[in-house]
C-alpha cells in the first residue's frame, strides 16, 4: 500500500495501543530518546524487555509449580517484571504485576496462579502488538519512508 497509507495505519495502530491502555506515556518517552545517534533505541529496549520477561515468566512458572512455594523467591521476579514493564510503558503488564505482587505478599497461592496467567496474557498481548508495530515500521522504512513521531492528540 502507499507510503502515506502505511504511515497513517501505523499512527492509527499506535493510537489504538494507547487507547486500549496497553502502552502508556513512558513508551512515548522512549520514542523521544530515539534519534540519529541512537536509531534503534526503542527496538533494542523492547527486545531486551522481551528476553528478560520470557526468562522471568519461566522462572515464575517454575517457582509457583513447586510443592512448597517459596514466596521469597517469587517476589523479586515479579518486582523485576514490574520494573521492566513500567520502564517501557507496558501499562497493563505493570498493573497486572502490581496485583500479582499483592497476592504474593498475602501468600495466596491460588490467586497467584491466576494472576500469573493474567500477567502472561497481558505480556503476550503487548509482545504481539509491539511486534506488529515494529513490522509496520520496518515496512515503512523499507519503502523509503520516515517514521514520524507519534503525537498523542489526547
Amino acid at each position: 500500500m502507499g507510503l502515506v497509507k502505511m504511515q497513517k495505519s501505523l499512527q492509527d495502530y499506535t493510537k489504538s495501543l494507547f487507547l486500549e491502555g496497553i502502552l502508556d506515556s513512558q513508551f512515548l518517552q522512549l520514542q523521544q530518546l530515539q534519534d540519529e545517534s541512537n536509531p534503534d533505541f526503542v527496538s533494542q529496549v523492547v527486545t531486551l524487555f522481551f528476553q528478560d520477561s520470557d526468562r522471568i515468566l519461566n522462572d515464575l512458572s517454575l517457582s509457583l509449580d513447586q510443592q512448597v512455594v517459596d514466596f521469597k523467591k517469587v517476589d523479586p521476579h515479579v518486582h523485576q517484571l514490574k520494573g521492566s514493564s513500567s520502564s517501557i510503558g507496558a501499562q497493563r503488564v505493570k498493573n497486572a504485576c502490581v496485583v500479582f505482587r499483592n497476592f504474593c505478599e498475602q501468600q495466596n497461592i491460588e490467586a497467584c496462579h491466576r494472576w500469573l496467567q493474567q500477567v502472561k496474557q497481558e505480556y503476550y498481548l503487548v509482545k504481539n502488538r509491539l511486534e506488529t508495530l515494529f513490522k509496520l515500521e520496518q515496512q515503512i522504512v523499507a519503502s523509503g519512508g520516515m517514521i514520524v513521531a507519534f503525537e498523542p492528540g489526547f
Binding site: Q26, Q29, L33, N38, Q44, P76, H79, S87, I88
Partner: protein
C-alpha cells in the same frame, strides 16, 4: 497325836520334840528341793529371764539348804563320824553359797525393782499415747468435716444456698438438734431469724441487737457458749424436755466490697455481724468439745468469705447490667446524633444552593439596577437593598463556612499570591469606613516579609479583613495600626513552637486599636460562636459574632494561632495571629517584577560530557535510564549491582543514579559506602540520586538519612530528567515534590 510313817527309832521322853523337829526338817528338805525345780521349770517356759546365773546360784543355795536339813534327819540319833562329816561339809557349803547369794541379791533386787518401775512407766506412756491418738483422730475427723463443709459452701455463689448448706452440713457433722442464723436487719438495730435447720419459725422473728449475750458473742471471734434460755436460743418448741442441750453461738462477719482494699486484707472493724447459733440435742448429756468449737469458728470464717464473694458477684453483675443499659442508651444517642448531623448536612447542602441562588439574583440585579437612571430616593433604596443583601450573603457564607469547618471538610485552597498586595487591598476595602469614622489606619510591613507566598489567599484575606474590620467597628476614636512581620520564635502559648522549615515561614499580623478595649475575663469568650460582649455600644454595630470564630478556625487550619490582648476596658486591644505560609520559590529573588522565571537551560548545553553512573539491577530500566541520559548528552556508565558500583565509581562521575527498588535497608548501604569512599575528598563526591517507584515521606526520609542528595520517581520523563539534572548541578540538592 499324829501318825507319821517315818522311820521310827526308839525315842527318849522328850522324843516328841525330836519327832517334830524330825518331821519339820523333812518337809523343809522337800520344799527346798522342789523350789528350784519349780523355778527351773517356769524359767525354762518363759523366754525372758536375764539372770540364769542367779538362778543357778539360788538353786544351789536352796539345794544345799535342803541337803543340810535332810542330813539333819540323821543327826537326831547317834550317828557315825561320816555322817557328821557330811553334815559339816554340807553346812559349810551351804554357808558359803548362802552368803554369796545374799551378797548377790543386793545387786540384783534393785534391778528387778527397776524393771517393775519401767513397766509402770511404759504402761502410763501407752495410756497417754492412746489418749493422744484419740485426740488426733477426732481432729482429723474435724478437719475432714471442715474441708467438706468448705467445699460445699464455696461451690456455690448463691447467698441462700451458701447459708442453707452451711447449716445443713454443720447439723450433720456435729449431730445438732438445731442450727440457726440471725442476720442483721437493714436498720442494723435488730437481728432477724433468717435460716433454721429444722424447725419452722414465725416470720419476722427479730431480736434486738443490743442484748448483752449478743454483744458478748460479737465481741470475740471465738465460739461462745451461751445459755439455752437466751432469746436467740429459744427456738425449739418447748416439749417438756428436761435438759436442754448446750448452745454455742459464733459471730459471722459480713464483709462488704468496700472492706477490700487492693493491698490490704480486710480489717475486721466491720460493724455488721450475723449470728450463728448451734444447739446440741437435748437430753443427750453431750458437751461441746474444744475441737467442735474450733470447727464452728472455722466454718463461720469460711461462711463470711463465701458470703462476701457472693456479694461481690452480685454487685459486679449489677454494675455490668447497668453498664450494658448505659451502653445501649449511648449507642442510641450516638445514632441519633449521627442522624441529626446527617440531616443537618443534607439541609446545609440543599440550603447552600437554594439560598445562594436567589441571593445572587438579588445582588446581581440590584447592582444592575444601580447602574440605571434612578432618582435619589430610588438610588438610596437600591443601595440599601444592595447593602442588606450583601450582608445577608456574607452571613450565609459565614454560617455555611463554619459548619463546613466544623465538619473538617474544609480544605485550604493553596496558591501563590502577593502578600504585600493583599494587605494593601484589604486596607483599601476598610479605608472608606475608617475615613468616615475618622480612624486613620497605618500599615507597617516588615522589610523581610516575603512578597510572594503560597497559601489560601481568599481565606487569609477573610481573616485580615475580619480582624481589621473588628478593630474599626469597635473603635470610636484613635487610630489603628496594622503590622505584619516574620516571626521566628516565642509565641504566646508555650506549646506552640515555631519551626521555620526550609520553604515555610510564619507570618505574624498585629492589629492594634484604641477602642473600647475588652475586659480580660471576656477574652476567652470572644472566639466562641455567636457570643458577643455585652457592651451596648457594640450592639448597634451588627455582625453575628461569627467572624472571630471563623477566623480562628481558618488560622488553625493554617497551622497558626490567634489571640487578643487587652489592658482592660477603654484601653484598646491588640489582636495578633500567626499563620504558616509557604515561600514561593520563584520571584522572591527577583523582587522587581512579578513575572515567573522561565527555566532558561538550553537543551543539551549543560550536560555534554557530564559523566554519570547508573546503577540498576533491572536490565530494561537500566537501558531506558541510560537512553534518557545519553539523549541529554551525558556520558553514561552502567552497572548492575552495588558492588560493581562501588568498584567503578570515581571522582570523575558527577552524579550517580541508583535504583532503590526493594524496601530493605541494604540498598541504601551503597550510599553510605560511597560517602565513606569519598570522606577524604568531600567535594569530589558525586551526587547521589535514588530512583524509586514510590516517593512517600518515609522513603524520602530514609534517603535523607542515608545521605542521598535526591529522590526521583520512576519512570522519569525526559523533561523531568532535564530539570532535575539542572537543579541538581545548580543547588547540589534536590527533593522532588510528589
Amino acid at each position: 497325836m499324829e501318825v507319821c510313817n517315818c522311820i521310827e527309832p526308839q525315842w527318849p521322853a522328850d522324843e516328841l520334840l525330836m519327832k517334830y523337829q524330825y518331821i519339820s526338817d523333812f518337809f523343809i528338805a522337800i520344799a527346798y528341793f522342789s523350789i528350784p525345780l519349780e523355778l527351773i521349770y517356769f524359767v525354762k517356759k518363759s523366754a525372758v529371764f536375764p539372770y540364769r546365773w542367779v538362778l543357778v546360784q539360788f538353786g544351789a543355795f536352796i539345794v544345799l539348804c535342803g541337803a543340810t536339813h535332810l542330813i539333819n534327819l540323821w543327826t537326831f540319833t547317834t550317828h557315825s563320824r561320816t555322817v557328821a562329816l557330811v553334815m559339816t561339809t554340807a553346812k559349810v557349803l551351804t554357808a558359803v553359797v548362802s552368803c554369796a547369794t545374799a551378797l548377790m541379791l543386793v545387786h540384783i533386787i534393785p534391778d528387778l525393782l527397776s524393771v517393775k518401775t519401767r513397766e509402770m512407766f511404759l504402761k502410763n506412756k501407752a495410756a497417754e499415747l492412746d489418749r493422744e491418738m484419740g485426740l488426733i483422730r477426732t481432729q482429723e475427723e474435724t478437719g475432714r468435716h471442715v474441708r467438706m463443709l468448705t467445699h460445699e459452701i464455696r461451690s456455690t455463689l448463691d447467698r441462700h444456698t451458701i447459708l442453707k448448706t452451711t447449716l445443713v452440713e454443720l447439723g450433720r457433722t456435729l449431730a445438732l438438734e438445731e442450727c440457726a442464723l440471725w442476720m442483721p436487719t437493714r436498720t442494723g438495730l435488730e437481728l432477724q431469724l433468717s435460716y433454721t435447720l429444722r424447725h419452722q419459725h414465725p416470720v419476722e422473728y427479730t431480736v434486738p441487737i443490743q442484748l448483752p449475750v449478743i454483744n458478748q458473742v460479737f465481741g470475740t471471734s471465738r465460739a461462745v457458749k451461751i445459755s439455752p434460755n437466751s432469746p436467740v436460743a429459744r427456738l425449739r418448741p418447748v416439749s417438756g424436755k428436761y435438759m436442754l442441750g448446750e448452745v454455742v453461738a459464733v459471730r459471722v462477719p459480713l464483709l462488704h466490697l468496700s472492706n477490700f482494699q487492693i493491698n490490704d486484707w480486710p480489717e475486721l472493724t466491720t460493724k455488721r455481724y450475723a449470728l450463728m447459733v448451734l444447739m446440741l440435742p437435748s437430753d443427750s448429756a453431750r458437751q461441746w468439745h474444744v475441737h467442735e468449737l474450733e470447727l464452728v469458728e472455722v466454718v463461720a470464717d469460711q461462711v463470711a468469705v463465701a458470703l462476701s464473694h457472693a456479694a461481690i458477684l452480685e454487685e459486679s453483675m449489677r454494675a455490668r447490667d447497668l453498664l450494658m443499659e448505659q451502653n445501649v442508651a449511648l449507642d442510641l444517642a450516638r445514632r441519633e446524633a449521627e442522624t441529626a448531623i446527617r440531616a443537618r448536612n443534607d439541609f446545609l447542602a440543599v440550603m447552600n444552593h437554594e439560598m445562594r441562588t436567589p441571593m445572587h439574583a438579588i445582588i446581581a440585579l440590584s447592582s444592575l439596577l444601580q447602574e440605571t437612571e434612578l432618582t435619589p430616593e430610588q438610588r438610596l433604596m437600591v443601595e440599601t437593598i444592595l447593602k442588606s443583601s450583601n450582608l445577608l450573603a456574607t452571613l450565609m457564607n459565614d454560617v455555611l463556612d463554619l459548619s463546613r469547618l466544623e465538619d473538617g471538610s474544609l480544605q485550604l485552597e493553596l496558591g501563590t499570591f502577593n502578600l504585600h498586595t493583599l494587605f494593601r487591598e484589604v486596607l483599601n476595602l476598610i479605608k472608606p469606613i475608617a475615613v468616615v469614622k475618622k480612624l486613620p489606619i497605618t500599615l507597617n510591613l516588615a522589610p523581610d516579609l516575603p512578597e510572594f507566598v503560597v497559601g489560601d489567599e481568599k481565606r487569609l484575606t477573610q481573616i485580615i479583613l475580619n480582624i481589621v474590620g473588628n478593630a474599626v467597628k469597635f473603635s470610636k476614636q484613635g487610630s489603628i495600626y496594622v503590622t505584619a512581620l516574620v516571626t521566628k520564635s516565642g509565641t504566646r502559648s508555650p506549646d506552640f513552637f515555631v519551626v521555620p522549615t526550609g520553604s515555610h515561614f510564619y507570618l505574624r499580623v498585629k492589629v492594634k486599636d484604641s477602642g473600647a478595649g475588652i475586659n480580660p475575663q471576656d477574652i476567652p469568650k470572644l472566639f466562641t460562636k455567636f457570643a458577643q460582649t455585652q457592651s451596648l455600644a457594640t450592639r448597634s454595630s451588627g455582625g453575628s459574632g461569627l467572624g472571630l470564630a471563623i477566623s480562628k478556625r481558618f488560622v488553625n487550619l493554617m497551622e497558626g494561632n490567634i489571640w487578643i490582648e487587652s489592658d482592660g476596658l477603654g484601653k484598646g486591644c491588640m489582636a495578633i495571629f500567626d499563620v504558616k505560609l509557604g515561600i514561593s520559590e520563584q520571584s522572591n529573588e527577583s523582587k522587581q517584577s512579578g513575572i515567573p522565571k522561565v527555566p532558561a537551560t538550553p537543551q543539551h548545553a549543560n550536560f555534554t560530557g557530564l559523566k554519570v553512573l547508573v546503577m540498576d539491577e533491572n536490565g530494561v530500566s537500566r537501558m531506558v535510564t541510560k537512553g534518557l541520559l545519553v539523549h541529554l548528552g551525558c556520558e553514561v556508565t552502567t552497572v548492575s549491582s552495588s558492588e560493581e558500583c562501588l568498584r567503578v565509581v570515581s571522582h570523575e562521575h558527577k552524579v550517580v543514579f541508583m535504583d532503590i527498588c526493594l524496601p530493605g535497608v541494604e540498598n541504601y548501604q551503597i550510599s553510605l559506602r560511597i560517602h565513606e569512599k569519598f570522606t577524604k575528598q568531600r567535594h569530589q563526591r558525586p551526587l547521589l540520586v535514588a530512583l524509586t517507584g514510590n516517593t512517600d515521606k518515609s522513603t524520602k526520609d530514609k534517603c535523607m538519612s542515608f545521605g542521598l542528595d535526591g529522590v526521583l520517581l520512576k519512570p522519569v520523563s525526559l523533561d523531568n530528567m532535564r530539570d532535575v539534572l539542572s537543579d541538581l548541578l545548580e543547588h547540589r540538592v534536590l527533593y522532588e515534590a510528589m
